[in-house]
């Protein structure tokens, strides 16, 4: 797993904007997505021979990886957060 602040949690936005693609985000996803199941330690990604799936979404400054392990069935969210927040106001 990548350290939270090196490289930065939130990848720089943009990239190949001329085509509307985001190669930096693609690279950051491949680099930072959890590689092993927290439940059984099986690899998660197809590239590593795993049978899981990891969908990334962003909320505020956080990057959330919604993970499913095809080996043991474990499912959960793993959050790369720059700051841990307690209560927050309704928004």
């Amino acid at each position: 797993m990548t350290a939270l602040h090196d490289p930065p949690v939130s990848p720089p936005v943009g990239g190949d904007t001329g085509r509307g693609w985001y190669p930096q985000d693609v690279q950051a996803h491949r680099r930072d997505a959890p590689r092993f199941c927290p439940g059984c330690a099986a690899p998660l990604s197809l590239a590593d021979g795993g049978r899981g799936i990891t969908t990334e979404y962003w909320t505020g400054a956080d990057r959330v990886f919604v993970c499913f392990c095809g080996d043991c069935g474990w499912s959960g969210d793993i959050v790369l957060a720059a700051r841990v927040i307690g209560h927050e106001p309704e928004h």
Partner: protein, 415 residues
């Protein structure tokens, strides 16, 4: 966001792929019953494979590989016989189970017939559609979902769309799009084209929720001015895994069917049963079917009706949307939930288990949860649904509106 290889796995339906193996565990509608009454054999394509679908004179349905095992001519031009389908080219006859029953030009004293078997599936009729199963035998039971077997007046709109099934299904777990695509955008188009878009679609979402259930994912929403006691949250409506969405409201009961023809093409069908209370339903010897428009005469998407807007959003993502370039937010949690579901069901199939929604015991009718008082708009939602959605192109549009209005007049409490 996904990796490129995850996206490929999710969207590739060829035989032998994880997704292809999963999707081959389900029944799909491949023809209108009407079509095979008018002519008893037709071509159909499903999951990237070509088939001939036919009906014998005794009313039995069959499906077999399109290419004749002899010299590969199309069996969709075949001769329908009492016990199977005969190739138009040299007359080889194949039974419903794929057995070769006749090879007219070959000598009778060889065992050649026994050595050539056609690949077949299983087909049967339900609700004005011919359904087929092409996966491993024994075939599961065809689920008799409420819309297909309930009393009412039926109506089927359809279009073939140049895009992958999965991006269409992701729309079925995306409640927020309604407020924008069918609300704000519809209003924008209406103002420019001189019509009034339905206000019921413009209400802001306060909360969305998703629950797993035995047939897929139930989608819920609380709209501005409503509470969790309203139907949109309390009942919701489901994505019926892996290729349907049950929708409706105000006694317009609909299944949105999305048949994966191949990786880049999906047949979109809107199967609707109108079932208002307190009125007799007219006889329907055949269920009307009609093609809904995708493009206008300038080649731009028709966006002046609800499903035309959906189609625009699905198709303009590209034949297979590039999920390495997407940026999901918290409002997209239903999308990640569906992807997990596809993946977990692929794993079940790999283990030799039946995936979600495959049943082995017959059931007379499977009722699915679906709002009655949709968008807390009352019975008038039925007219919005008919007038502003795909049913505006139905040959029986006016009769359907009349049916609902007569029902309101006869029976005040429609819910």
């Amino acid at each position: 966001m996904l990796t490129a290889e995850q996206n490929d796995e999710l969207t590739d339906f060829d035989p032998g792929t994880p997704m292809g193996e999963l999707l081959r565990r389900y029944w799909y509608p491949l023809a209108f019953t009407r079509e095979l009454e008018e002519f008893p054999v037709k071509h159909a394509r499903l999951l990237g494979e070509d088939f001939a679908v036919y009906k014998t004179a005794s009313g039995r349905y069959g499906i077999m590989q399109e290419a004749c095992p002899h010299r590969r001519a199309s069996m969709s031009y075949g001769v329908v016989e009492p016990d199977g389908l005969r190739c138009p080219y040299h007359g080889w006859l194949f039974g419903l189970d794929g057995t070769c029953l006749d090879m007219p030009a070959e000598r009778d004293d060889t065992n050649f017939k026994a050595r050539v078997t056609a690949r077949v599936g299983v087909a049967q009729e339900m609700g004005g559609l011919v359904w087929a199963y092409i996966g491993p035998l024994p075939a599961p039971v065809l689920p008799r979902f409420d819309v297909f077997v309930m009393d009412g007046v039926r109506d089927i709109g359809w279009a073939d769309l140049p895009c992958n099934l999965v991006q269409i299904m992701e729309n079925a777990v995306d409640p927020h799009h309604v407020e924008w695509l069918h609300g704000r955008y519809f209003d924008f188009i209406g103002r420019s084209q001189g019509f009034t878009a339905p206000a019921s679609f413009q209400k802001a979402h306060q909360k969305v929720g998703f629950d797993l259930f035995e047939w897929g994912i139930i989608k819920r929403r609380v709209l501005a001015g409503a509470t969790e006691e309203d139907d949109d949250w309390k009942v919701g409506h489901p994505l019926v895994f892996p290729y349907n969405m049950r929708v409706g409201g105000a006694n317009v009961e609909q299944m949105q069917i999305r048949v994966p023809i191949d990786r880049h093409t999906t047949r979109f069908m809107l199967y609707t049963t109108h079932a208002p209370k307190g009125v007799p339903y007219p006889e329907q010897p055949q269920v009307p079917d009609y093609e809904i428009p995708v493009f206008d005469d300038k080649g731009r998407h028709r966006v002046d009706y609800v499903e035309g807007q959906d189609i625009m959003a699905w198709v303009t993502q590209g034949k297979v949307t590039d999920r390495t370039a997407e940026h999901l937010g918290r409002s997209d949690v239903g999308v990640s939930m569906l992807r997990k579901m596809f993946k977990s069901e692929m794993a079940k199939v790999a283990r030799g288990e039946d995936p979600l929604g495959v049943i082995r015991e017959p059931r007379d009718r499977i009722d699915l949860p679906c709002e009655k008082n949709k968008f807390h708009a009352g019975p008038s939602f039925a007219l919005d649904f008919i007038e502003m959605a795909s049913m505006r192109f139905s040959p029986q549009k006016d009769a359907l509106k009349k049916l609902h209005i007569e029902a309101w007049e006869a029976t005040e409490n429609q819910f």
